[in-house]
Symmetry: D2
């Protein structure tokens, strides 16, 4: 389960397509892979995470999805990372063994969070000596707005070559400035192309252009956040942007309203990107 190619750039946190009656819709994933690669220029995926409603799925469903993504992504995607976090550690371990068995590019894991520590620990502290404890440890999806912690993480682990992928899409540019290597997020499903242009601008560096891209994706996100924006709404947005039917979310989530969809679509259509697309 080692990653030969270095993981960097954008990673789409995949949506789990569902049929109208709430079952996972595996046949759509092939089309989904092609869409990400060809239309969004995104070649890495993070499967069964929050965006994928991973914790709302049964263990069996999670395995089926992992298999399908690994299978369909073969020779097309650079990295297929399977999220194996669960409240029950035996189940998490079972999912990890399964990911290894099917040849996933890597795993990611959220710690059990029903019982949780009473005091906040900085990520930077958690990473001290991590490679000794977990020799295959590759990096972190960092999803907090505390950029001091992120900067310290990046700096203190330079020798270890850990990857820090940022998880708060709407302020990725700030994280890049302090040293993030890339990003994992739901918006890269449908704004991956534009975000890759932002990454390119930042790399030049053409900060004014990078800022312009961040402003524009932010304009959309700020708008939908005010309307109420979660995984259900992400499924709806991805459906109208990509044309691939992502279906309804699973309970406890409720589907996006028609009103939300109409407003979100109008807003997204109204944005004029710097490259004219």
């Amino acid at each position: 389960m080692t990653s030969r190619k270095k993981l960097q750039g954008l990673v789409a946190a995949t949506i789990t397509p569902m049929t109208p009656d709430g079952q996972i819709n595996l046949p759509v994933i092939r089309q989904y892979v092609d869409y990400l690669v060809n239309k969004q220029t995104v070649k890495n995926v993070f499967v069964n995470g929050t965006t994928g409603e991973g914790l709302s799925l049964s263990i069996q469903e999670r395995k089926q999805l992992a298999e399908e993504w690994v299978c369909q992504g073969k020779d097309k995607l650079d990295h297929v990372i399977i999220h194996v976090g669960a409240l029950s550690l035996p189940e998490s371990q079972e999912l990890a063994r399964h990911a290894a068995a099917i040849g996933a590019g890597g795993i990611a894991v959220i710690a059990p969070f029903f019982f949780k520590p009473t005091k906040k620990v900085r990520v930077e502290e958690l990473l001290e000596g991590i490679k000794e404890r977990i020799p295959t440890f590759q990096g972190v999806k960092f999803s907090d707005t505390d950029l001091l912690d992120l900067a310290q993480c990046v700096h203190k682990n330079e020798a270890q070559q850990l990857e820090f992928l940022y998880g708060v899409d709407e302020q990725l540019l700030g994280a890049l400035a302090v040293g993030a290597n890339g990003a994992v997020g739901s918006t890269y499903n449908y704004l991956g192309r534009q975000t890759n242009l932002m990454l390119e601008a930042f790399a030049k560096p053409d900060l004014a252009l990078a800022r312009k891209y961040q402003f524009l994706t932010g304009e959309f996100l700020n708008f939908v956040i005010k309307l109420g924006f979660g995984v259900a709404q992400t499924k709806a947005v991805m459906t109208f942007v990509s044309g691939i039917p992502m279906g309804p979310p699973r309970l406890p989530l409720l589907g996006a309203s028609e009103e939300f969809i109409a407003k979100a679509k109008a807003k997204l259509d109204s944005i004029v990107w710097p490259d004219g697309n």
Copy 2:
């Protein structure tokens, strides 16, 4: 899965006994049932809840535990309630069907909480029309310190004969005052006898005596809360009080320290209960 006998009084939120290597320890449950009934005068149990580390267990383990409690509790316990909440609704439904099949006295369920509502809803509002939507609905384990909400719940559902069992052990007396019918909690595993004496005093009413019992259980709880008190510590306390080996908790919980155990035991031993025991 209907309860013929009315559910009232104390319900012990059961601990899940584990072997030293972290497997569930089913053979201990028979002894556990006898202890609750004979030593603690507690005849109702709530299985696989927070105290039972239910969400740290696999689905299979939860089923095995449910079966053992139903089997061992037969003719000894009044009510065996199985908690079937899970993050994944299909898994929750599977557990509910299983509880029905094995003849459990009832189920309880926590809603999925990874995706959660953005605004707080009062329990009283949730219960409007509940019997129309869920005809077998029996009542609520109310575990908040908001006694206004509890009082409204009790009052508005008198005609429906719902049960309200309070879940904050250390302030049960306050909840009884506003109308709670009983209680579900971890402390009734080892302080059930004394709490039943408090309930009796309250029923007379002998408020001064009831208050004395609440003060004394509070003195213990206040003491251990300051030391850091969670499910792992509850397992340790139950072990030294009952003599039944509850074993270590499962990760992510860490076992109670020897220092905690010594201090908690000394504190509990130092309390002189009104009945001299």
Copy 3:
């Protein structure tokens, strides 16, 4: 500044009457005192607290209000307590000296809260040795729903004869059950009579009747809390119940809406109290 008479029962957290243009309206206070005593059977007041918008007033205004309450309450009220808390300790000290100089029955003080402790401390811990440090210390307005802490406070300070007045009006009955001596709150301005009947029922003890009163005041409070209930709304309710013009609140608070007033009045009028009033 010692209190000869023991402080117990209800204490009204007074509203600060204002003129339509936002100045403090001192002449109304005489009528306010008579109303509390004669109509609400409440003979203790807590001046310049949250309900009185104390922290929105200038130091000079707080002094004027304190003087007027002490003056008008003479021979009519049992206890006039002046709240002297402020963010600036020199100002707090100045207010305390002033309260002593005008012959107030006592002072109460909230600690500065802009800079605040990083960890929560239980009241029970704060009170250890308090009489040695503050020989004139009389008691606590306890405004948390943590009744374990309250019960421990009451129990551990029995020898010291401290008073514990509860500050969460909507669940006073729960606090009485664990040992509170009385209450300080805004609702005793307009529901003082009914709450005193609850206290009488509790003292008998007639818990069913006490619970009935708590349910009914809770029914009103639960209703207005859902509409949005704060100091501005309290001013409006007191105005329509008492007929005394309390005026608008001071910014940053905005006045209650006409819709709120109509709904709150209709709700309060619809309640049938056990004594028929």
Copy 4:
């Protein structure tokens, strides 16, 4: 009270020097101004804010400090901004009028926060039409880690020429990336020179160098934050870095411990800055 010169770059949130017995120490301010200008290359100050313990001071003390800063800063500082926020709006207005009268370069104000809105509002929304309502409005000290909101604020107010000064010193670089114009903070009292070098590197742009400076200031801040870092500790750090006696904080703050001071000094001394100083 208009600012002719555009406000940009660094603004030191000034410390209020106190004598050992807790009185404000005005004579030290002259030396303090010279130190900021000559040693830290910082020419703007923000007086009586959080760092200055503004809310722990009396109104009279705040006026005296404002006068001294305006007087001593004349011809040396570019901008002397007086913070006039208070819980009582009449007092805030009095402070604002005073600032105008003494010729301060501008005022800043925190809204009263004892009574506060029940829902969070984004700064970007608050600024809609702000210039119509407050024609002299100049800009915002933005002290949240929500860079989406900051980016939207900057973008939507380009035509209005508002200034956005960032207030979370440890992640200023992220804020610069999304468009902040400068910064207000306590660390610019003693790390102003290094932060100005970071601003210069960012302006080139030499992001690697800018990141290096942010890492190093972050290394110090991360270290002291773990020890417990607040205004009292800032006073101690400024005292040992500048040699100017800032004195103890006022209650409710307690002075930094000798242990903190020794550790913080050793840490700061251990940092090797890119320019060798």
